[in-house]
């Protein structure tokens, strides 16, 4: 006999998720189930279209990370058309991508993740938002966040050819070169981004790390799961968001596998559970043991924290110094000269996100300082004899590894489309974090708002984009937590109005 708890839906998150928490006879948490209404017909929508439409179709799946879909789709097309992009084309794509990462990570920290730390996890929701952050740390921070978004959106707009939904990616390259004036603007923006990222890390240190209560919250086992970690690495095995090999390390930090993104089907399988239409990806060669962690469970995580866990330090100097500081704060031992034992405390994902913010800013400047960055050679024109008809493109989206896989007929008409989006990778760990939070709360007499927010915090650290994960849409809904018995009978209901 089990009891069911329903949380429906999650505020401050994309989509209309409903959480069911099943209790056993002893009142413990038996399992958690995270249901999301699904958008239907995406593959059918795409099949029959010309493959080259995909960068502008997929960037409309979701308004949150169109840039990630645009770049992944463009990379998949490079492979479909057998056209290797020119060096400057790769750099321009990566600059746009870094500008996007800066805005996305900034917004997450100040609007979503930060409020729990800066205002406090038990503060009323009316204060626990970006306005509360600005009131607490200084009104000028509001202006800084808006200015950061604005200067990076300007880069995305002129590089991408259109605001919000980029159109510049083409098989084999990028539609337009940049001028010297634009290069200077990118450099100036990147320098400001670096300063802003350092300011944000300073804020995190001052408010979280120096507060024993919050530090305890971050390093406690409430959200600790010893899973495998995944991330994209460059030729030196350091984090890269735009391109590289997929590296997976086991819970102890030993490299489990490193593979080219095009080989994903050999390494990733998807588990279908009868109670959810989201599929749970897992490491094929480890196997599915259910929603559990450890070295024998194929559950892996693809987040800012996991990317750092697989990386031999960061490729830029300031971010690398912060990287070392984080692992040393957690008392992790060095595994190699550059890498530490993985951190499995999920709330550290917020910290990792800020380190990535700094890395993206530094990387943007590095790229904009490349001598050939204004080169007009932005495109390799596809040669029909090189056409392959199959393309797998992958990037690190802010929320995890994003893979686009297209197959076409001889004319380039799509016959098959598959995607594994960032959030989907983390479906199992998200469910596990909800379960852990529920276990801690179920026996406590915590106030309703505390229960609601602590369960939301389990989600929020992953910044799940349910819009992508299910091809679903946003909407603000009130949050309801229902405690049910095995027959569906309502035992207790907590409700927050939207």
């Amino acid at each position: 006999m089990t009891t069911r708890i329903t949380i429906d839906p999650i505020t401050r998150l994309e989509g209309h998720g409903r959480i069911d928490i099943f209790l056993n006879d002893q009142g413990g948490v038996e399992n958690t189930c995270f249901q999301i209404p699904e958008l239907r017909g995406f593959e059918q929508f795409c099949v029959g279209r010309m493959a080259e439409e995909m960068p502008v179709i997929t960037n409309r799946i979701c308004g949150v990370c169109p840039e990630a879909h645009h770049i992944a789709a463009t990379k998949a097309l490079d492979a479909v058309f057998g056209a290797e992009p020119t060096p400057v084309a790769k750099k321009l794509r990566e600059i746009l991508y870094m500008a996007f990462f800066v805005t996305d990570h900034t917004t997450h920290f100040y609007a979503l993740g930060g409020p729990d730390f800066i205002i406090g996890p038990d503060a009323p929701p009316s204060e626990r938002n970006i306005l509360g952050v600005a009131r607490k740390v200084g009104l000028e921070v509001a202006g800084e966040v808006i200015a950061c978004r604005k200067r990076n959106h300007e880069i995305i707009t002129f590089l991408g050819g259109k605001s919000i939904h980029p159109v510049a990616g083409v098989p084999g390259g990028w539609s337009r070169p940049i001028t010297a004036v634009e290069r200077d603007q990118i450099q100036d923006t990147a320098r400001k981004n670096i300063e802003f990222a350092r300011f944000s890390l300073g804020l995190f240190e001052k408010i979280v790390l120096k507060n024993p209560l919050y530090l305890e919250m971050v390093t406690s086992d409430t959200y600790l799961h010893r899973t495998y970690s995944m991330g994209t690495v460059d030729t030196d095995n350091r984090t890269n968001f735009y391109d590289g090999m997929i590296r997976v390390v086991d819970p102890d930090g030993t490299e489990f596998v490193k593979y080219h993104p095009s080989e994903y089907r050999e390494h990733i399988a998807e588990r279908v559970e009868p109670w959810s239409y989201l599929k749970f990806p897992y490491l094929k060669k480890v196997g599915w043991q259910g929603l559990t962690d450890g070295i024998d469970s194929g559950v892996y995580t693809a987040t800012p924290l996991s990317r750092l866990n697989v990386s031999e330090g960061m490729a830029t100097p300031l971010a690398n110094a912060e990287y070392q500081r984080m692992y040393e704060t957690f008392g992790c031992k060095r595994i190699t000269t550059a890498r530490y034992e993985p951190i499995h405390h999920r709330l550290a994902t917020h910290w990792a996100r800020l380190i990535e913010l700094l890395y993206a800013s530094e990387r943007m400047l590095e790229l904009a300082l490349e001598p050939d960055i204004t080169s007009p050679e932005t495109r390799t024109i596809p040669d029909p004899s090189c056409f392959t008809g199959v393309g797998i493109g992958s990037v690190e989206a802010p929320r995890g590894t994003l893979t686009h896989h297209y197959e076409t007929d001889a004319r380039g008409v799509l016959t098959r489309v598959n995607m594994i989006v960032g959030t989907t990778n983390n479906y199992a760990p998200i469910s596990m974090s909800i379960k852990r939070a529920a276990e801690k709360l179920i026996t406590s007499n915590a106030p309703e708002e505390t229960i609601l927010n602590r369960i939301e915090m389990a989600f929020r650290l992953y910044d799940p984009c349910l819009s992508c994960a299910t091809h679903f849409l946003p909407g603000k809904m009130p949050l309801t937590v229902s405690f049910r018995d095995s027959g569906g009978g309502l035992l207790r209901e907590l409700r927050r109005k939207g």
Partner: protein, 158 residues
């Protein structure tokens, strides 16, 4: 200083009725192209993005699909004072529109003096497709007329 008018169509044009706000925004601008200077913006998500899309304009009209339980095709107008949310004006990755608007004010962003929200009740919003359902398609001309009437009235006040 703010100037001009922006009409913001919200939603996803690939998801059946969810794209109705975008279609209406373009239709309004097309009808008014000889008589009024309008900037048209398409947006998928709300929150801070929506606030940013209005920055610098004197007036803003937002058109979005909604799911209020009314009959599909129903058109409703909201003023910011009584506005809660339509389908896409909230962003789960940052905040709701009201908070974003306050944030903009706090950050010194020039925001419109007049903002008007329009919601059109959707029927099919989770199926990929570029067609509206019949009720929603039938509601488009009326929505365009009413929004134009409001824009003309605003011009008259100026």
């Amino acid at each position: 200083m703010t100037a001009g008018t922006v009409i913001i169509g919200m939603g996803n044009p690939l998801l059946s009725d969810d794209g109705v706000g975008i279609a209406v925004a373009h239709a309004v601008a097309e009808r008014l192209q000889r008589t009024m200077k309008l900037t048209v913006t398409e947006l998928h998500t709300g929150g801070i993005r929506l606030m940013e899309a209005m920055a610098g304009f004197k007036r803003a009209v937002v058109v979005d699909a909604m799911l209020s339980g009314a009959a599909p095709g129903t058109l409703l107008q909201f003023d910011p004072a009584d506005f809660v949310t339509t389908k896409n004006t909230f962003s789960s990755h940052d905040t709701d529109f009201a908070t974003a608007y306050d944030l903009g004010r706090m950050a010194g962003v020039s925001l419109p003096e007049q903002v008007s929200f329009w919601g059109i009740e959707a029927r099919e919003f989770d199926l990929f497709g570029e067609q509206f359902t019949d009720e929603v398609a039938a509601a488009v001309p009326g929505a365009v007329d009413r929004i134009i009437a409001q824009l003309v009235a605003w011009e008259g006040e100026a």
